[in-house]
Symmetry: C2
């Protein structure tokens, strides 16, 4: 009898202890259902995105658009009556595209083909009259080295390695090709090239050139050569014509400029936690965008979804246990100054960021999340997957969270990234086509709801 | 010792028996990888779809487009050197839209608002001068009955129940609203209505009217009233104006006609099974489309994906054990005559259709499959899910296969439907916007690969 009682008590104790750490699937699934329904029937993310893209437009760091977006972000969160909304100062690089770029292939005898290009972000200008030179087409830096200075000097290097279509996740294909854009100019300059043309980072065949950041590293100012992206159709044409006649020349002209650093801001809004106010959960995206298009997917989507997370909590009457902070980061695209600054200040203040979630992969149908977490943390979060199955958002993988929240990583905390369907992203990424017409309202709203659901669970149950 | 040996033998026997039925995850995952890579890097589905949509266009039953699509389907499969390609005769209804519809809201004093409408498929014409009448707005048939004949007679009934945004699967929202379109006219005619206007079946707010099939049931010819879909923007305007002034009148004119039955065809191509030629696996979609747009998603996508399944097998050197048949069904949209005919002939011939797979939910990113199967069949197929996880296509549910293959269902066989992401489908469904620009090449190719993967596994391991 005594033994039985002891057993019963121990069982009860064990049960209660384990309960304390475990998800309440029934009540949580009811709350997630409310989150999704509210986002789909009474969401604000699409309306906000419409404002950001159609009334503000592109938001490159240091531009008027970026400045207006900062104001909009602050006002929007203040109107939602978050507990606290503030701007965090950060110096950002100001680069301007200047007047429209112009390029053509000169195949001799007066025959020219105009092709669409866009200066890469950070690139220097060509001389005022442009550059005309013979072209060396390469696939990668190894080939460049093999060809060598004698054959490259005075020429334009054309990096034409396509993204690989065979990968299911298009970000993987991007990762395998993007060093041509980021480091191509610095590499080609070593061999005396006078300019660099890079095949656009996309899997589609299109007329849109895709801009994006590039860096000269520690290359001396007078050694820097101009770099531009060419549309994939233009790249195919150029490559084909080079095969017919290696003597053809390429002309391009751009007057992009680096104007030094200017003052800008991260925009931060928070609801203070009722039980563990010192445990901070961050949800965010980046407020800046490239200057082509309106930055609808990249990253207007992430911005409006992040604000929507806290708005959904407010209208559903959910009071977080932990402090939840929406951060609209500045300057992800060409410097990551906002993300670095936010982490720096957090460290100075000794703030404890237990969890960060970023949406910066487009406003497409959410498929799941990637987690930068320990094995045991990941295993625990994975046990929540079935809560996301009704929303087809239960693909949980290990991986990075996002560029802006990256600097917040510690041994103990968890960073996560929303993982939307990636098939269409690089059709519009960094182009004039990244406008609200390419965003589906419901897909955007589902993403916001998925984010709110994950943040809710983390807020309820912590990270350990 | 003896016991040990017996145990060992039994274990071995059991192991071998169970092995015979089990998927070889390693070699199968290698083959699925090949299927996906080939579809993404060397696929034909998008090129075929481009031809069907841009060179043939819409393919309503009985139209020239449908006739040309039959020819194209036959020629394409013959060029691929399938073992056998043939046409199967089927009589289909021929309905024509006639000249463009025209409609406006007349709010009196010479004030009119033109609104976009489209005659529903199967609807009779208005009188040559159109119909102008007062409007009764209702949400459903119950409300119609409640309002009653006295208040409805001589008026136009306006069905305005929206699809519900809160469902994750948009097909569920469609299912909850579509009876207004299919049966609205037959219902309203009972109460003496002179015409019917139906809110378009979509979750988006747009100017596109969405056509679709409707039926008068057994209503006498002289009792039939014309029915048209109105764009959701038009529906919102009409509803808003009716609230301000219930006396406003609606005018619409259309000259659609039912022209009786004409001869058309299902197009069938097969590769004969090497081991079980009498076990037939069908993969298909429907060749006909509505006359608005080009039927790119509905169901050009399903057609090209189905042909691609067998083409992928051929170029990968895979020789099916079972007979695999591609069926391009005619007349899904307004009669299902092709599906019924195919099943009827199969029955007459005593053919054993063990499995059917249909793609008729758009050419969007595949999320998984739905299966019409017994619990044990479904459980067995679900054990293959992890093979589809790398392609994010592992959402397996119980449910229907597809309208065209539906008549093939028996107690023993399995029918399945490809389940693509459904968020964008009803933005373009049955509208002028269902053109190839709304199809993403990679999403289409992923769907074809997912279908080929499932067919391969069924071919390898059977259904039991």
């Amino acid at each position: 009898m005594k033994n039985k009682l002891l057993f019963s008590l121990l069982t009860c104790l064990f049960f209660n202890l384990s309960q304390a750490q475990q998800v309440d699937f029934k009540s949580d699934s009811i709350f997630l259902d409310k989150i999704f329904k509210t986002s789909l029937t009474n969401g604000m993310s699409y309306e906000w995105l419409s404002y950001m893209t159609n009334k503000i437009g592109s938001r490159l760091s240091g531009s008027l658009g970026a400045e207006r977006a900062v104001e909009w972000g602050k006002n929007t969160m203040q109107e939602l009556k978050f507990d606290k909304v503030w701007l965090q100062e950060v110096m950002v690089p100001k680069w301007v595209r200047g007047t429209s770029e112009f390029a053509y292939i000169d195949s001799g005898g007066g025959t020219t083909n105009v092709v669409p290009i866009a200066a890469l972000g950070g690139s220097v200008s060509t001389p005022p009259d442009g550059i005309k030179a013979r072209v060396v087409e390469v696939q990668n830096f190894e080939e460049l080295a093999k060809i060598g200075k004698d054959s490259i000097e005075g020429k334009i290097v054309f990096f034409n390695r396509p993204m690989q279509a065979e990968f299911i996740e298009t970000f993987r294909a991007y990762g395998g090709a993007v060093n041509q854009r980021t480091q191509g100019a610095a590499e080609a300059a070593k061999y005396g090239a006078v300019g660099v043309i890079v095949r656009s980072m996309t899997l589609s065949v299109s007329d849109d050139p895709h801009t994006g950041t590039m860096s000269y590293g520690d290359l001396a100012l007078n050694k820097r050569i101009p770099a531009a992206a060419i549309s994939t159709k233009g790249a195919e044409l150029l490559s084909g014509m080079l095969k017919l006649n290696p003597q053809i020349r390429f002309y391009f002209k751009q007057n992009s400029k680096n104007l030094g650093d200017v003052l800008s801001y991260n925009v931060v809004g928070e609801i203070r936690g009722s039980q563990y106010p010192n445990e901070i959960i961050v949800v965010g995206g980046h407020l800046d965008s490239w200057d082509l298009g309106d930055g609808a997917h990249d990253d207007g989507a992430g911005i409006v979804q992040s604000i929507e997370v806290l708005r959904l909590f407010k209208i559903l009457g959910y009071k977080p246990k932990r402090t939840i902070r929406v951060v609209l980061f500045m300057n992800e695209e060409n410097g990551l100054r906002g993300g670095n600054k936010y982490a720096e200040v957090a460290k100075q203040k000794g703030e404890n960021h237990v969890f960060g979630l970023e949406s910066d992969a487009g406003g497409f149908t959410p498929r799941g999340f990637s987690f930068a977490a320990t094995d045991s943390q990941f295993e625990r979060i994975s046990s929540w997957k079935s809560l996301f199955t009704p929303y087809l958002t239960d693909s949980f993988t290990k991986g990075g969270g996002g560029a802006d929240i990256g600097p917040l990583k510690t041994d103990k905390n968890i960073l996560a990234g929303l993982r939307p369907d990636s098939q269409r992203y690089f059709d519009i990424h960094h182009t004039a086509s990244d406008v609200i017409d390419s965003v589906n309202k419901r897909e955007l709203e589902l993403g916001a709801a998925a984010m709110a659901s994950l943040i809710y669970l983390i807020d309820q149950y912590g990270i350990n």
